[in-house]
Symmetry: C2
Subunit: 334 residues, 2 copies
């Protein structure tokens, strides 16, 4: 097991300088500190808590997600995680992340530098620099709605997309819908790809044809709304499944502008049950994610990894929330 | 909330008779007891522990699986579950099941009659009568390697099949293999279907053609070995992925009988890392399932369901164990 001496020898600095870097002391330059941390990670140094009563620390890394407002999507994820972690004796830091911050240091060096033993990661996109780091990271991490194929130290928590789309398609089919379209944006995310695949599998499971004329996917929400939505309406889709509630809400607004009644002319279903969805016009039928439960599961998955139980994924059940944006299928004159 | 009185009224029996049935007393006939339990389930009766120190009970239902011998596949699943459940204050009963026993009473009535609050279910096939009951069951259950689509009170634990086949195909590809075949039997199981799908997805992920001439699936292991295996060999497969180690072991034996050398002529990979796999001839390369970790995860999933956290699935990472049944791909004269 490499020691502080090995780091010092490799960089030609004193042991006390290395110690300062590892303990976040103030009298050391940021560039030297960074060099020492990256070297420590490179040679496989692992910090031990020397004092038995030193705090055990975890972090929640947040990006692209509102966690401050009680109505923000991340709020209850954070609460749920803390509800489990704090009674178990952990100190939990909330750290706001950005691609820029990530490109300044590696994930492992960041974690070592702050003495975090594991991370719960919210809102990262596939393009975030640390998504590459996580493929070989040695500090345990649990990703909400993201998945790393090969690293057993990284686990994935989320809601079962297949169940969500199965429930939506099953429900719409009972209402007489057959021409069920799909709109998705946000292609740089793992979950975006997964939800689209789940839509395709649900249609197949229910023996409904997937008509690619009724599918629109673009990284630009404006393109989904202004280009694909009118096409789906023209092509007589009777229902549209949306990748997430924000998109579904934009669909509701634009349909009204185009003179289409919801749900008489077209049914719309979202995904997430965001805080605004119950107050959309009309209130949005959607698939709920229970964020508090997801946060609690995030902690359990991280605790398991820290305990050498290598969970790959932990998925919660989806739940269909029926509101007023869905109704019996419109009949077109044949 | 229905009470004992409601059950008694519905059946025209006394309250004390109902109480005897619910408390497993001896002076009541089995047929009357069964009728009372089924009625209790039908009207939605839920038994409360009246005395605070009454034991909290869970059960492990086992079928088609050796759990008695330390080398049996179920042994460590049971141990892992108990290691978590017992310190948490649960009494755990191990109950050997059969389709006959299942057809005598419904799952919920059985659980109510024995005062079990939840079950960890090992080794059921898709044809087991209770697999139908579980679609609407109200007593929480965690299934090892089985999945119920619509009931949030039933969760699934297992090893990630996609990761397992990804690792196998990735490893074989590095050894120069392109013509990678698949053999599977045991079609009545959820996991059999899933592993076959995982094989197809792994081949696609690694941009290898799936040649249906190199795929053999049959409920009869004899058909796999005597009919499909010779065909795969004749069609110049250089490697065979097997659904489980038992099948892989039969492949090793039959290849030797047919004069094929392993791994020089053909590489073979199993799934499970059963106890005999390290001692096969040659020792078998396989995907390990960590049964102890699976048992522990089984308990966590059940505890979550009992706590109204509706886990859908909890999958462990797969692990490739390299032994001597795999080697560089054979080159055929073109």
């Amino acid at each position: 097991m490499p020691t502080i001496n090995d780091i010092a020898a490799k960089l030609g600095v004193s042991k006390s300088t290395v110690s300062k870097a590892l303990n976040n002391a103030e009298d050391i330059s940021q560039s030297l500190r960074k060099k020492i941390l990256e070297t420590a990670v490179e040679i496989g140094y692992e910090k031990k808590r020397i004092r038995k009563n030193a705090p055990k620390k975890l972090c929640i890394l947040v990006e692209n997600m509102d966690y401050k407002n009680p109505s923000g999507f991340g709020h209850d994820l954070v609460i749920g995680f803390e509800q489990m972690a704090v009674p178990a004796g952990w100190e939990v830091d909330l750290v706001v992340m950005s691609p820029e911050k990530q490109s300044q240091t590696s994930y492992d060096a960041f974690m070592l530098g702050h003495q975090y033993e594991g991370a719960f990661i919210l809102g990262f996109s596939l393009l975030d620099p640390w998504m590459q780091d996580l493929k070989t990271a040695r500090t345990p991490a649990v990703l909400y709605d993201n998945y790393i194929l090969e690293n057993p130290l990284v686990a994935y928590v989320g809601v079962n997309s297949d169940e969500g789309f199965h429930m939506s398609v099953s429900y719409l089919k009972k209402l007489g819908h057959r021409r069920i379209g799909y709109l998705g944006c946000n292609m740089d995310s793992q979950i975006s790809r997964e939800r689209y695949q789940a839509y395709l599998r649900a249609m197949e499971l229910h023996k409904l044809d997937v008509n690619m004329d009724l599918v629109g996917r673009s990284p630009f929400i404006s393109k989904c709304i202004q280009e694909y939505l009118p096409l789906l309406l023209k092509r007589q889709a009777t229902a549209i499944l949306c990748e997430h509630d924000q998109l579904a809400n934009a669909v509701l607004i634009h349909c009204a502008e185009l003179g289409f009644r919801i749900p008489e002319d077209i049914s719309v279903i979202g995904f997430d049950d965001a805080a605004f969805s119950a107050y959309a016009s009309p209130p949005l039928t959607t698939i709920r994610q229970n964020q508090n439960a997801l946060g609690r599961c995030g902690y359990y998955a991280l605790a398991s990894l820290l305990n050498n139980t290598f969970i790959s994924s932990l998925l919660l059940r989806a739940e269909l929330i029926e509101r007023d944006s869905t109704g019996p299928a419109r009949r077109f004159p044949s």
